[in-house]
C-alpha cells in the first residue's frame, strides 16, 4: 500500500479545492450576470420598480399613477409618454447603458440604468 501521507495533497483534498473554486467561479458568473443592466423607476424618493433588462424578453409598458408610461424593452428603458408640459423626459430617449438616466421633473419621476460597468463614470456634469 502506498504511503498517502507522503504526498503533498491527497486526491480528496484536490477535489475539495477544485469544488470550492468551481463554486466560486459559478457564483462569480451568477452575480455578474445578475449585475447586468438593471433599470430602476424612482418616484419622489422611492424605488418603485427594479427590472433586470437582460431578463426582458418582450417589450411591455408600465403605467404609473402619475400619468407617466415607462416602456421596457430587452436591454432598454425609456419614457414612452407623460402628461407633463415640457416633454423633456420623453425627448431624452432610450436608456441602454449603465449610468444613463432620464427625469420627469414635474412628476418627480426618474428612470435610470444601474449595474457594473468599469468604464461608466461615477457622475455626469452638464
Amino acid at each position: 500500500m502506498k504511503d498517502k501521507a507522503g504526498r503533498f495533497l491527497r486526491p480528496a483534498d484536490l477535489i475539495a479545492v477544485a469544488a470550492i473554486l468551481l463554486l466560486a467561479g459559478a457564483l462569480w458568473l451568477l452575480t455578474n450576470s445578475r449585475q447586468g443592466e438593471t433599470a430602476e423607476i424612482v418616484c419622489d424618493r422611492e424605488v418603485l420598480y427594479t427590472i433586470r433588462l437582460s431578463e426582458v424578453k418582450e417589450p411591455y409598458e408600465i403605467r404609473l399613477e402619475n400619468g407617466i408610461t415607462v416602456a421596457v424593452e430587452p436591454g432598454a428603458v425609456f419614457f414612452a409618454s407623460s402628461d407633463c408640459a415640457n416633454q423633456l423626459c420623453v425627448r431624452t430617449g432610450r436608456l441602454t447603458r449603465v449610468g444613463q438616466s432620464a427625469a420627469c421633473l414635474p412628476h418627480k419621476t426618474l428612470i435610470r440604468v444601474t449595474g457594473r460597468d468599469k468604464t461608466a463614470p461615477d457622475a455626469l456634469t452638464g
Binding site: A24, A102, L105, L110, D122
Partner: protein, 350 residues
C-alpha cells in the same frame, strides 16, 4: 509529512479565500438615493451602510429643501420671493448669509454675474414652460433695475431690501449653495460619496481601494447622457472635496422667428450672451464658487481675465466652443481624458 500538514490547510484556505472574495466583491458597495428638490434631481451614491446612508441622505435632502424654501425665486412662499414681491421683507440668518456670499462673488467677478438680474430673467421666462423674447422697452426697463448697489442686507433688522422694481434671482448660485450645505452634512460623517444635483457634482472623500472618482463632461452637441470627456480624480486624503459645475447654452433654449435664444443672460445687455463657447465646466474646492464661476466664465469667455479668476479661486476649467474644440486649464490636464475623437484641442495660447 510536516509539509503536507501545512499545504493541505493552505490550499483549502486559498480556495475559501477566493470564494469569500467573490462573495464580498459582488455586494453593492454603495447605497444610491434620489430626491427631487429645487426643480432638479438630487442623487447621492453613499459608500456607507444602509442605515447610515438613509440618515445622511435624509439630512442632505432636508438641507436642500431648506435652502430652496429660503432662496427660491419661483416659490411664492420663499423669503426671496417675498422680498421680490414687496421690495423689502424679513429674512432669516441662512438667507442673509447665502445672499451676502452671492453678492460678494458677483463683486469679485466684476459683475459678470449679477444676483439682482431677477426682473430680466423673469421677462425671458426660462424658468417657465413658455420662454419668449421680451419686448425691447420692457427689457430696458428691467435692465435698469439691475445693480448690486441698490441691494441692502440689513442684519440688524433681519431684512433684505431691494431697489424699486429690482428682483433677486439666485438661479446661478442656488445649487452651489445647496451643494455646500450637503458637503457640511457629509463632513460630519466620514463616508465617501458622489452627489449629483441638477448637473453639478460633489465628490467627497476617497474612493475604495485607491481608485479614482470619474466624472463625465456632457457633450454639448449630444443628448442628456452623452459625454465627450472624463475627469478623474485620485484624492490623497479622506478629507477631499471637489465640486464640478457646468454652464452650457444647450441647457435651456427656445427658437423664435428663426433665432435660437439660450438662457445664459448677460447682466450688461439683458440678452443671451453672444459667444463662441457652448459650455464651460469648472472644478473648484467650493460649491457656490464652482457654480458661479462656470456661469461667469461662460459669459466672460476664454481670456486672461477669466483664467485669472479661476486661478484666484483655486479652480480649473474645461471650455468647449461651437467648433467642437476644447481647452483644458493646466491644473486639469492630467485629470482630463477625451472619450470622443470628434473633439479637438482649441488653439489658445494662455
Amino acid at each position: 509529512m510536516r509539509l503536507q500538514r501545512i499545504l493541505r490547510p493552505a490550499a483549502l484556505l486559498c480556495a475559501l479565500l477566493t470564494l469569500c472574495g467573490m462573495l464580498t466583491g459582488c455586494a453593492a458597495s454603495y447605497q444610491e438615493r434620489t430626491a427631487f428638490a429645487m426643480g432638479s434631481v438630487l442623487t447621492a451614491r453613499l459608500y456607507a451602510p444602509k442605515d447610515k446612508a438613509d440618515d445622511l441622505f435624509g439630512r442632505m435632502a432636508g438641507k436642500v429643501e431648506e435652502a430652496d424654501r429660503c432662496l427660491s425665486a419661483n416659490d411664492p412662499a420663499s423669503e426671496i420671493a417675498a422680498v421680490n414681491a414687496k421690495g423689502s421683507a424679513n429674512a432669516g440668518a441662512f438667507t442673509r448669509k447665502a445672499l451676502g456670499d452671492m453678492v460678494m462673488l458677483c463683486h469679485l467677478l466684476n459683475g459678470t454675474v449679477d444676483v439682482t438680474m431677477g426682473a430680466v430673467t423673469e421677462l425671458w421666462g426660462f424658468a417657465t414652460d413658455e420662454p419668449r423674447k421680451p419686448d425691447e422697452a420692457a427689457l430696458q426697463a428691467a435692465l435698469a433695475t439691475v445693480g448690486l448697489d441698490r441691494l441692502l442686507i440689513d442684519n440688524t433688522n433681519e431684512t433684505i431690501v431691494v431697489g424699486k422694481g429690482q428682483k433677486i434671482d439666485p438661479g446661478a448660485f442656488g445649487k452651489g449653495v445647496a451643494l455646500d450645505e450637503i458637503y457640511n452634512v457629509l463632513h460630519t460623517a466620514s463616508y465617501p460619496a458622489v452627489v449629483s444635483f441638477g448637473g453639478s457634482v460633489l465628490l467627497f472623500g476617497q474612493p475604495k481601494n485607491g481608485k479614482s472618482w470619474t466624472v463625465g463632461v456632457r457633450d454639448p452637441f449630444g443628448g442628456e447622457n452623452d459625454y465627450f470627456a472624463k475627469l478623474s480624480f485620485t484624492p490623497e486624503s479622506g478629507d477631499y472635496a471637489g465640486f464640478i459645475s457646468t454652464s452650457g447654452s444647450y441647457e435651456k433654449s427656445f427658437t423664435q422667428n428663426g433665432v435660437t435664444y439660450h438662457h445664459i443672460l448677460s447682466p450688461q445687455t439683458g440678452c443671451p450672451v453672444e459667444t463662441d463657447l457652448v459650455s464651460v465646466t469648472v472644478y473648484a474646492p467650493g460649491g457656490l464658487n464652482s457654480d458661479a464661476l462656470s456661469t461667469a466664465c461662460f459669459i466672460n469667455g476664454l481670456n486672461p481675465q477669466t483664467l485669472q479668476w479661476l486661478q484666484n479661486f483655486g479652480a480649473e476649467a474645461v471650455f468647449v466652443n461651437k467648433d467642437k474644440e476644447y481647452y483644458v486649464t493646466d491644473g486639469l490636464s492630467e485629470a482630463f481624458t477625451l472619450t470622443d475623437d470628434a473633439f479637438t484641442p482649441m488653439a489658445y495660447e494662455g
